[in-house]
């Protein structure tokens, strides 16, 4: 069991001893194919590692059929934030095949804090690190997506600029300068040095998103 935990990326900073300790507090569960493991919108406080088999992330499709939109495989973890902060599940998951999971609920985490505080804080520390990295990725993705929206609106903005240059000569040069200061859209917008106009446009779009 601890070797499966050892292979989970989120827990790569845990030592072998930590993994063995963590295993003591986890429950082993088995699901038959088609069994619902999580239901979207239902409260959840359990973290779950897939030890064998696979989980399907599904959405209701036409004619009462489920559509699989993602899959969770062996060594992957779901809901690790729920054992710290219980929340409604984001998606419905069903066992794609006969699946074995290791689970840790909020209650077990609290017991771990009492009985094995060092391992519990190491585990929570690993989750915090993972959350921080994911937060950065999500933030960067938002910025990229918003930059994409802006790129899609470029013809419209160009048109606006053309009509403004036709209708008035005053302020034309500043409008042109502002437009020209928008950098090329190739690559990620995140991390690049952007002129203030670009930042402001992104901020406005972000506000309206």
């Amino acid at each position: 069991m601890s070797s499966v935990i050892r292979a989970v990326k989120v827990f790569e900073t845990l030592s072998d001893v930590d993994c063995a300790e963590l295993a003591r507090f986890m429950r082993i569960r088995q699901y038959q194919p088609g069994t619902t493991v999580f239901e979207r919108g239902k409260p959840g406080d359990t973290m779950l590692i897939v030890a064998d088999g696979a989980l399907s992330v599904v959405m209701p499709g036409p004619r009462r059929r489920n559509i699989e939109v993602a899959r969770v495989g062996v060594g992957e973890v779901v809901g690790e934030t729920s054992c710290i902060d219980p929340a409604p599940r984001n998606a419905t998951m069903i066992a794609a095949v006969r699946t074995t999971t290791y689970e840790l609920g909020r209650k077990e985490l609290k017991r771990m804090h009492r009985e094995a505080p060092r391992v519990a804080t190491t585990l929570v520390g690993a989750i915090i690190r993972s959350v921080t990295m994911r937060l950065r990725r999500v933030d960067e993705r938002i910025e990229r997506e918003l930059a994409g929206h802006l790129a899609a609106r470029l013809p419209e903005l160009r048109q606006t600029l053309r009509s403004s240059t036709r209708s008035t000569s005053a302020g034309t040069s500043s409008a042109r300068t502002a437009f020209c200061r928008v950098p090329p859209l190739a690559g990620s917008a995140a991390g690049s040095k952007r002129p203030d106009t670009w930042t402001a446009m992104l901020a406005r779009l972000r506000g309206s998103a």
Partner: protein, 187 residues
């Protein structure tokens, strides 16, 4: 400090617990108008405001914007306790302030001790990060849902917003996205 300088409230700490916290941190005094930290600096510590007030400042469109005012009981820049990322905004002292500076290494030692206070404090940091991540995932789902154009039958037959949420959460769960044409499975 990401996401508009939201800090974490640290309610219900007794004076004994605050004394324990003080032992793990460095008490610092800041005069009004000085800076706690500046945007773009490498973050090596967080600050717990014990008196006074600070404001989170960012320059947008060449103009200074005050994003938030943080008061006693707030942990400023919790991300610094986890990694040495760059400060995403500046923090200016609004009125004379006393703050406990928590350096990353000291925080790790404090947490490793596993005292009940350390556990609670770590949980507060975790909760703040998790809620921030959920809010960001929500925001990304909104952005993705807006960019999905109804083309063909499939996007119209499923909840577009929910699908966008799943796409947004892909990184969060560490799951593999399925094939481009999702396979229908029997219920």
């Amino acid at each position: 400090m990401k996401a508009a300088g939201q800090g974490n409230r640290l309610p219900g700490y007794t004076s004994a617990e605050l004394a324990e916290l003080a032992a793990a941190t460095r008490t610092r005094h800041f005069s009004a108008g000085t800076w706690l930290c500046r945007e773009g600096d490498t973050a090596a510590s967080s600050f717990i405001i014990t008196s006074g007030a600070v404001e989170v400042v960012k320059y947008l469109d060449g103009q200074e914007r005050v994003l938030a005012t943080l008061r006693p009981g707030t942990l400023v820049g919790p991300t610094a306790l986890v990694e040495g990322s760059l400060r995403s905004a500046s923090v200016r002292v609004r009125s004379d302030t006393v703050a406990l500076e928590f350096r990353r290494k000291a925080f790790h030692r404090f947490v490793q001790d596993g005292t009940p206070l350390a556990v609670r404090f770590q949980e507060q940091v975790a909760l703040a990060g998790i809620r921030q991540l959920r809010a960001a995932t929500d925001r990304l789902a909104q952005v993705l849902a807006r960019s999905v154009r109804p083309s063909g039958r499939k996007p119209a037959t499923i909840d577009r917003m929910a699908l966008a949420f799943i796409q947004a959460g892909t990184g969060e769960w560490g799951v593999h996205l399925g094939t481009r044409q999702p396979a229908a499975t029997k219920e």
